[in-house]
């Protein structure tokens, strides 16, 4: 195949890939931080900050990689501090994500 046709085909394929998400209807159900051993204190969490934590988690934590399948809550602090530095998260975002992951 000549180079010209090859690239025409490649670009067409790329365009097709890009149009795919528009055909998408469902929302991503990335349950974040399925921390394997969640503490049972969930019910005391105030609702509004909960949603805020979810919103920030969704907006920040899937930017560079997929969420891990699950991890021990003992390393949440290490992970979130690491990601705060790597992703230049704000202090507020860091707190909200910590609360969201380890209520």
């Amino acid at each position: 195949m000549s180079q010209k046709y090859f690239f025409a085909a490649a670009v067409a394929l790329g365009a097709l890939l890009m149009s795919l998400p528009k055909m998408q209807s469902q929302a991503t159900q990335q349950t974040p931080a399925q921390t394997s051993k969640k503490q049972p204190s969930d019910k005391h969490r105030p609702q509004p900050s909960d949603n805020e934590g979810q919103r920030i988690f969704d907006g920040q934590c899937a930017r560079c990689h997929t969420a891990p399948d699950g991890f021990s809550p003992r390393i949440t602090n290490a992970i979130v501090r690491h990601m705060r530095v790597r992703a230049n998260l704000s202090a507020t975002d860091e707190k909200a994500i910590l609360r969201f992951m380890n209520p």
């Binding site: 790329g14 899937a62 021990s72 704000s90």
Partner: protein
């Protein structure tokens, strides 16, 4: 360019000992919730270029150890074997080295001070996509070496953080200075640089600019820009970078997608991840100092990854590369496992 060409230092027992000491010291400083995390990727990769197949088993372990309320020590190593064919059969090389080792001090909501050997924040590939468990393609982009000043790491200091963070947008920055270092473990060029990006959270659009300058030998400037778009509620990602150096320039643009239309991301169909990457490099003159191809090159990469349960991924791709010197096909396959666990056992709280 392979992801390893920037690693040119050798593993030393000393450094391991230092890391262990750092990890242990974080126990005495803080409560149970400051347990260090050990993470990273293990992979077995194959690459067939012009009929020759290279096999690479590799492990990239990472340690992230928080100390007290403001400090984090982080480091990543790479240990790999490469088996490649030669006239006598198979030739085998070994590499082990620390990729980076840095201390981060979170000084204020807007400022983190980093010291040590750190990944250069030029563009996005080096800091974000180079870990083996993150990259969608096994191979880094052709322009990956532009702006990375031979080694991809700096030895010195960096200031970084979130400059502005609002509900709808945020701006972040990173700026650094590196000394020249000929240390076996941490090699770097005397240089400085920085990156700034704007992120629009609602549209999930990020745009950034990078700059750096080598301050040794013939001083050269590098400029970069990146655009990432990952529309909300989709598993579609479009990432791109352009970089320009003194002697060459180029770009890559990568799209990847997982469908949720057949029972969600974790259905057997949803686990497929088709990928496409387009790349071009252009020489501005014939001085070869930047690791880019010697002649103008175009390359299309087609990939199909499969995301297995339990943090395991299969990567496959076919690439066709065109240049005036020759056209080649590159086939790559790999299996990657991502691990993540606390540095030691213990109870919660």
């Amino acid at each position: 360019m392979s992801r390893f060409s920037s690693l040119n230092s050798y593993w030393k027992g000393r450094t391991l000992g230092l890391l262990a000491a750092l990890a242990v010291s974080s126990i005495s400083f803080a409560g149970a919730q400051n347990v260090p995390a050990i993470s990273g990727g293990v992979a077995f990769l194959t690459s067939t270029n012009g009929g020759n197949t290279t096999y690479t088993p590799l492990i990239e372990p990472l340690l992230a150890a928080p100390i007290g309320k403001h400090i984090l020590i982080e480091s990543r190593a790479a240990i790999l074997e490469t088996f490649s064919p030669d006239s006598t059969g198979y030739n085998h090389t070994h590499f082990a080295g620390l990729t980076y080792l840095q201390g981060d001090y979170i000084a204020s909501p807007h400022l983190t001070i980093v010291g040590g050997s750190f990944l250069l924040p030029f563009g996005t590939y080096n800091e974000r996509l180079s870990p083996v468990w993150i990259g969608n393609f096994q191979d880094g982009p052709l322009i990956a070496s532009l702006g990375l000043l031979s080694t991809g790491t700096g030895v010195g200091g960096m200031l970084r953080g979130s400059a502005i963070s609002r509900r709808k947008y945020s701006i972040d920055y990173a700026t650094w200075f590196s000394a020249r270092s000929g240390n076996e473990q941490f090699n770097s060029e005397r240089s400085f640089g920085g990156r700034a990006s704007l992120y629009l959270q609602d549209s999930r659009l990020e745009v950034g600019l990078s700059y750096d300058r080598s301050l040794q030998g013939t001083q050269e400037n590098f400029y970069g820009t990146h655009v990432w778009w990952e529309p909300k509620d989709t598993a579609f990602r479009l990432r791109s970078e352009f970089a320009r150096g003194h002697h060459a320039q180029g770009y890559w643009i990568e799209a990847d997608y997982r469908t949720q239309a057949f029972g969600g991301l974790n259905s057997w169909v949803g686990r497929f991840e088709p990928l496409f990457r387009m790349q071009q490099t252009f020489r501005r003159d014939t001085i070869i100092s930047d690791g880019l191809p010697l002649v103008n090159t175009q390359r299309a990469d087609f990939g199909l990854d499969y995301n297995l349960p339990h943090n395991t991924r299969i990567l496959t791709s076919y690439s066709r590369q065109f240049s005036s010197s020759n056209n080649t096909n590159i086939w790559e396959t790999g299996i990657v496992y991502r691990f993540l666990f606390p540095a030691w056992k213990g109870k919660s709280q």
